[in-house]
Amino acid sequence: MNQASKQKKTGSPEVIKQYLTFRIGNEHYGLELSQTREIIEYSGITEVPLMPNFLRGVINLRGEVVPVIDLAVRLGRKSIEVQKRTCIIVVELQNNEQNHVLGLLADAVSEVIEMDDENIEDAPSFGANIRAEFIQGIAKREDEFVVLLDANNALSIRELAHLVEAQLQ
């Protein structure tokens, strides 16, 4: 990945990245595949009291206690209703040289796509209805758009912790 971004700087046009795409409501989103760790079936979330809506609870991921984020709420949409295809995407983010593991609730996982930078457009300054810094770019696929999320911003541990703190006050 690092190499890929370096290439971009030196002007080489061939930068292909893989994205995991998934569906929330009718919208399609993507996350860089390198940031995702696994996809698990939705089951047995332990609710944590007094938390804001975006924080659905915690799960036991093979002995590790992992918080689960309702991505829909985080993106300003209606809370996800658990259905048959609901799943949890486990992502691993680097923050302050520490690894943070988070679970993301999604309505359904679609596929892994390969995109080169040429086909990714910058986030529109308005109209996406999502905070601009959460969007890394918009990928056009056939007749649909995939919003590629900037996980480090959309899931900033510091911001999430602040939101929890605000909720508790």
């Binding site: 332990t46 009291p49 938390m51 002995g63 918080p67």
Partner: protein, 732 residues
């Protein structure tokens, strides 16, 4: 060995030192002419330099070294500390602070920073005298290169002087630098061999950077007279042990030397090499011969015999060394050597694995009782007992007595009392009480703060004590004891005590509490932990800056502990810190409320009762338990959980410190051994939940932090009552 911990200690210490350095410089600026003040500044710089050197923070060492040189000249009254010099020394102090700060954040010192440092050093030049000593950090590297080059020397050096020196432990404190002696020796001749004797270096935790632990075995090729060589050690002779063996000495001189060596040298060969009676080459050759002989004869020849055969050493030397080796071996079997040193990381790994074992055992338990096979249940139960025993045994591995931590305060109290012009004695009780190693490290800072506070604000000055009919010397007592799965650490002083009224007034002035609000004594005392509230009338360099006590409280809470204060005006103050013995694995009680599994730490539980069997105190969340009123918290309410059936509610009566309270839950499930899993940074603001844990079913349960939960409930009630009174006022 946790070097990181030590490094953190250094940063904390450096900050303190820089603060006192600043204060002392300011005192000089105000016209203080006391030599002790200059000494204080010198010591601060000296300590920072010394500790920084230990961690290889060379930028700090090299800069501070020059500053120290100037201060040293001031100390010797070679220069006077005038306003001019002060106006350079203060920025120098600030520059050291910047360097320490950078090191703390692992930032490299950028060019502007280094340039600033150089500018300051240039400004200091007029005060440095003619020959400013070069920078220590460089000296050391040069020195070692120079000295150890000699080690390649070939044959035996019995033609040279042999010097065996064990420096006195206080040498560094007295301002002596062993390297300067070695440098001086080099002016007399060539150091062809040097071995550093490091046997006396203590465990890292006991390491005192101001103490000298080293000795040297030196071989010096020189035409100097014995007197000249002895003169090199003129200033250290009294406290050090120095033996000089002239060239071509009788072999008995070496025999004597070996016998007088204090070290525990392990092998005959090493001892001989160390004293340069033989060289490594001779040793290796001898070892090779030993092997060959063993092959040829089918039996291992004695190393000593071979060395004699090879004519490398005289029999007398070998016998003396053999004697010593025998003695060393005898010492081996004494009880002090029964300890095994284990890497802390390996230990933590073991504890983690046992944690997993504990969780899995719950799972097996669950499955066995589901299957209902009595033989299986029996087997599982007995396995469970062993698991428990293993867990307990493993946890004791990490336990260390708190005495070592307490002991460090002896020095702190002595030094601080001196600087405060007070007489203070430190008493220690319960030093053998054990607690988790990881907690000991985190206790250091809060304890340091409390003790300093007690010395500074608690213990009165001698004149006040005399007026109060107290002995001149104040006492600070550190105690530790176990109490129902907790450790209770007490810090008592027989000083002036806390002035409740003064605290109240200050809190009102600072807007912490409203006038007319009634608070209990304990609640008022607890206000001293509030940031910004310091009752010291005079802010001193030690404490009284109003920061600190809040940090103390936070540190203790991070360890899942609590702190209570008892104080009486004129008599003294006692703080008790209550901590769980370990953070890794706890015995808990599994309950549910709403649809969430909770775990109440077992050591807080007094009893569990049916809520409906108790008489309620009218209109309050309070029950009558055998004549005592016990307030309770309904988990479903405080955590806004789904409402449920009230008829079957149970109350878990818990105790934390002096407080007793009830936790109302929906269902009791029973005891459970549980491994504490941290919840992660997102949940940091959540009060009342101390962590999470996994149940046998694989579900996550939340561990209640009783103390936090209770104070959370109290705060909420206060808020609600306040909101209520605001409403009334508005209606009026």
């Amino acid at each position: 060995m946790n070097l990181d911990g030590a490094l953190q200690t250094f940063f904390a210490e450096a900050e303190d030192l820089l603060n006192s350095m600043e204060a002392a410089l300011l005192r000089l600026d105000e016209g203080d002419k006391d030599m002790e003040t200059i000494n204080e500044i010198f010591r601060a710089a000296h300590t920072i330099k010394g500790s920084a050197g230990l961690f290889g923070l060379n930028d700090i060492v090299s800069f501070t070294h020059i500053v120290e040189n100037v201060l040293d000249r001031a100390r010797d009254e070679k220069i006077t500390v005038s306003g001019d010099l002060l106006s350079i020394l203060l920025p120098c102090r600030d520059h050291i602070a910047v360097l320490v700060e950078n090191a703390m954040h692992e930032r490299a010192n950028d060019e502007t920073c280094l340039a600033q440092g150089q500018a300051l050093l240039d400004a200091l030049k007029p005060w440095l005298g003619v020959a400013a000593a070069p920078v220590i950090a460089k000296q050391e590297s040069n020195a070692s290169a120079g000295f150890f080059d000699g080690n390649t020397g070939g044959s035996s050096d019995r033609d040279s002087w042999h010097i065996s020196v064990r420096f006195g432990p206080d040498l560094l404190r007295n301002g002596m630098d062993p390297f300067s002696i070695l440098r001086f020796l080099r002016t007399l001749g060539e150091i062809t061999h040097i071995t550093t004797i490091t046997e006396h270096l203590p465990e890292f935790n006991d390491f005192d950077p101001e103490q000298l632990y080293l000795g040297f075995e030196i071989t010096l090729g020189s035409n100097a007279s014995q007197q000249q060589i002895e003169d090199a050690f003129m200033f250290v002779r009294e406290e050090s042990s120095i033996k000089i063996i002239p060239p071509r000495s009788n072999i008995y001189a070496f025999v004597n030397l070996i016998q007088s060596l204090p070290e525990n040298a392990q092998r005959l060969g090493e001892i001989l090499v160390k004293s340069h009676a033989i060289t490594y080459q001779e040793l290796e050759a001898a070892l090779a011969t030993q092997k060959n002989q063993a092959k040829a004869l089918g039996k291992v020849g004695m190393l000593g015999d071979i060395l004699i055969e090879e004519q490398a050493v005289a029999p007398e030397i070998v016998n003396a060394a053999l004697d010593k080796q025998k003695k060393n071996n005898e010492k081996k079997s004494s009880p002090e050597n029964r300890f095994i040193r284990v890497d802390a990381e390996r230990l933590d790994k073991l504890i983690n694995l046992i944690g997993e074992l504990v969780i899995n055992r719950q799972r097996v338990d669950l499955l066995a009782s589901k299957m209902g096979n009595p033989t299986l249940i029996e087997a599982v139960t007995s396995m469970g007992n062993f698991t428990e025993a293993i867990r307990d045994a493993a946890l004791t591995l990490r336990m260390v007595p708190i005495g070592d931590t307490f002991q460090k305060f002896k020095r702190v109290v002595r030094d601080t009392a001196k600087s405060l012009n007070k007489e203070i004695e430190l008493e220690i009780e319960g030093a053998e009480t054990e607690l988790d190693r990881s907690m000991v490290e985190k206790l250091n800072d809060p304890l340091m703060h409390i003790v300093r506070n007690a010395m500074d604000h608690g213990i009165e000055s001698i004149s006040v004590r005399q007026a109060r009919n107290k002995p001149d010397s104040g006492t600070i007592k550190l105690t530790a004891r176990h109490d129902a799965g907790n450790i209770v650490i007490g810090i008592h002083d027989d000083g002036g005590g806390l002035d409740v009224e003064k605290i109240r007034k200050k809190a009102i002035t600072n807007g912490l509490i409203e006038e007319g609000v009634h608070l209990s004594r304990q609640e008022l005392f607890q206000l001293i932990f509030h940031p910004g509230l310091s009752t010291a009338e005079q802010v001193t360099n030690l404490s009284g800056r109003g920061v600190g006590m809040d940090v103390v409280k936070r540190n203790i809470e991070e360890l899942q502990g609590g702190i209570e204060i008892e104080s009486e005006m004129g008599v003294g103050t006692s703080l008790s810190i209550r901590l769980p013995l370990t953070l890794a694995i706890i015995d808990g009680f599994h309950v549910t409320a709403g649809n969430i599994d909770f775990i109440v730490p077992q050591n807080t539980i007094l009893e569990c009762v049916d809520l409906n069997s108790l008489n309620h105190v009218q209109g309050q969340n309070c029950v009558n338990l055998r004549g005592d009123q016990v307030p309770y918290i309904r988990l479903r309410e405080i955590f806004s959980l789904q409402p449920g059936n009230h008829s079957r509610e149970k109350i878990v009566v818990v105790q934390f410190g002096e407080k007793r309270a009830g936790i109302v839950v929906d269902e009791l499930h029973g005891e459970i051994q549980t491994v504490v899993k941290p919840m992660g940074p997102i949940f940091q603001a959540l009060k009342g939940i101390g962590g999470s844990s996994l149940l046998g079913t694989g579900a996550v349960a939340l561990i209640l932090d009783i103390q936090q939960l209770i104070s959370f409930a109290i705060n909420r009630e206060h808020l609600r009552n306040n909101a209520f009174s605001v409403n009334i006022q508005e209606q009026e």
